[in-house]
Amino acid sequence: MSVANLPTPKRKKLPLTQGQLALPLAAFLTLFYVIPMVVLLAASFQPARGGGFTLAQYAEFFTDSANIRVLTLTFWLGLQVTIACLIFGYPVAYFYHQATARWKTILTFLILLPLLTSAVVRTFGWVVILGRQGLINSLLVGLGMIDEPIKLLFTHLGVAMAMTQIWLPLMVLSIIASLSQIDPRLAAASESLGGGKWRTFWQITLPLSLPGIISGCLLVFALTVSSFVTPSIIGGGQLMYMPTLIYQQGVVLLNKPFAAAVSAVLLIMVLIVVFLLSTLGQRTRKYVQ
């Protein structure tokens, strides 16, 4: 798969080395990201009162079945929303990729539209949609598919639906970026060699767009498991996810070390997923090259 003969922009030698250019950002991140992160991790090894080093916070987290349930529920939510975003997002991105320039303008607007309102406003919109007399229930009852309104608000399903809509644009944009990097001549070549549309898609387009799929999944998963507003309003107090637990412990109950430990557990969960997906990404990148 050669991309070498594509015209590449000529690079001028930069007056500064790239390392030096990154210094301001590095300083900024150290000050406002790395140091707070170290403080957070250090706090998670402290006992609830007084100083010292202890693993008690982590022990407390993993010995309480309620906390484990919160962790698994959060993981499931992340997984479900990521898969749903992928299933709904890929066709949109593919359609965008194939569309004419005029359609692309319209589609860009439509894809970005949800990002233009805040998550809080969209969440309250979802309360209206998911309610007993909301859009979904009125529609299903009106069509005669159900007799009684089904409960969507304050359910895990409702949270997953709202989160899918909220993070969908990020998945679509990642996949579009990846699709637009595919050399269109590859598909033409495949067709001229007798590959049908489906075969071309499965063997050329889909594998080459994997980097975009992976980065989209990463974004959606990480943002979903760390969302606070939507799960707390749609899920209510009866569905607890990790960010709600962190808020509850850190701000309401003032148990900072435990909140720090819960944050660290959430961080580790995200890091594991990032690691798995980026390993997968490395492999696919080899394929793309």
Binding site: V127, L153, H156, G236, G237, G250, V251, L253, N255
Partner: protein
Amino acid sequence: MSYPNLSSRHLQHISRRSILGAGLFAGSSLLIKACTGSSPSESAAGGGELIATTFAGSWEQLYRDVLVPAFTEASGGSASLVPMVSLEQIAKLQASPQSPPFDVVLLDEGPFNAAPKELFQKVPVDQLSNYDAVLPALKSDEGWGPTTGVQVIGIAYNPETVASPPTSWNDLLDPQYKGRVSMQGMQTTQGTSVMVQFAKMNGGSEADIEPAFALLQEQLKPNLTGIAANSGALATLFQQGEIDLAPHDLNNVISLQEKGLSVDWVAPQEGGIALRPAQQIVANTETSIELAAAFIDAALSLEVQSAMADAPYYFLPANQNVELSGILAEKLGSNTEEALSKLVLLDWSEINPRRTEWIERFDKEVQA
């Protein structure tokens, strides 16, 4: 043809320096802002500035439209407002006690009672010209700031779906409202108050919540469609016809009613619950105590307190000289003293030591 060339070279020349300059300027001004933003500004010309917290919603509106103008007129000072719930305010104060981010805070009695007292300083009541007008029951014995205004929790209901208005807290447990009730969780003052009230009605007390938890499992939970995250979520649930009954604040319900929502409010026969948020002066503030006292004094003035008792705020005033009228008079009586006699006051000093445990237990027991 040379003109565009020249201009583009000129542009390039400019952009490198000016972008660097602009970047440095923007960066440094952000830094300066970040540094000064957290500490109160030193007194400027005139009466000085202070940073006051308030609760989002009606309280913020009252502060912005009535209290701050009254304060500026009386003292010449200016105030900037930060809307934030009590617990978050205390968390912020604890994070930086030496240079606190606020000067005057508005706190619910529960969270204030539970907070370490070294975060605050006593209010110099001799500097408050309106202190004598405050109802004695709303003053602090220990010299802290008096109650600013009373919020009353009763039962909000939808008159279109609830045939006869509820009369008792027990109506929330009536099986006919299965899946039609909501409430806020125990991490909110409202949720804790309602649970303690249920305990008290069933042989418990501020120190013994057990009866309320028994009730929660057996009778309340089947009726609950969900636990609302905050009062805004409760409003949306009423609006969507999702719920028929919920414990809620009188002032919030009236403001929903005035927006055309089908919702009304009653004080249950066992008594509505009175909440007494109060303003306190933060310890180690850079602003002067006199200015902070002037702000609290303005909040207790007849002018501000009369406005507070009227549309669109509807808090019970702390100033006993204010005559109640309209909806407040109809629901609670002709003045705050009469209203308080019909309301329940909870002992937060008994509740607070146990509250952490209750919140965690409540969250576990209501899990779907």
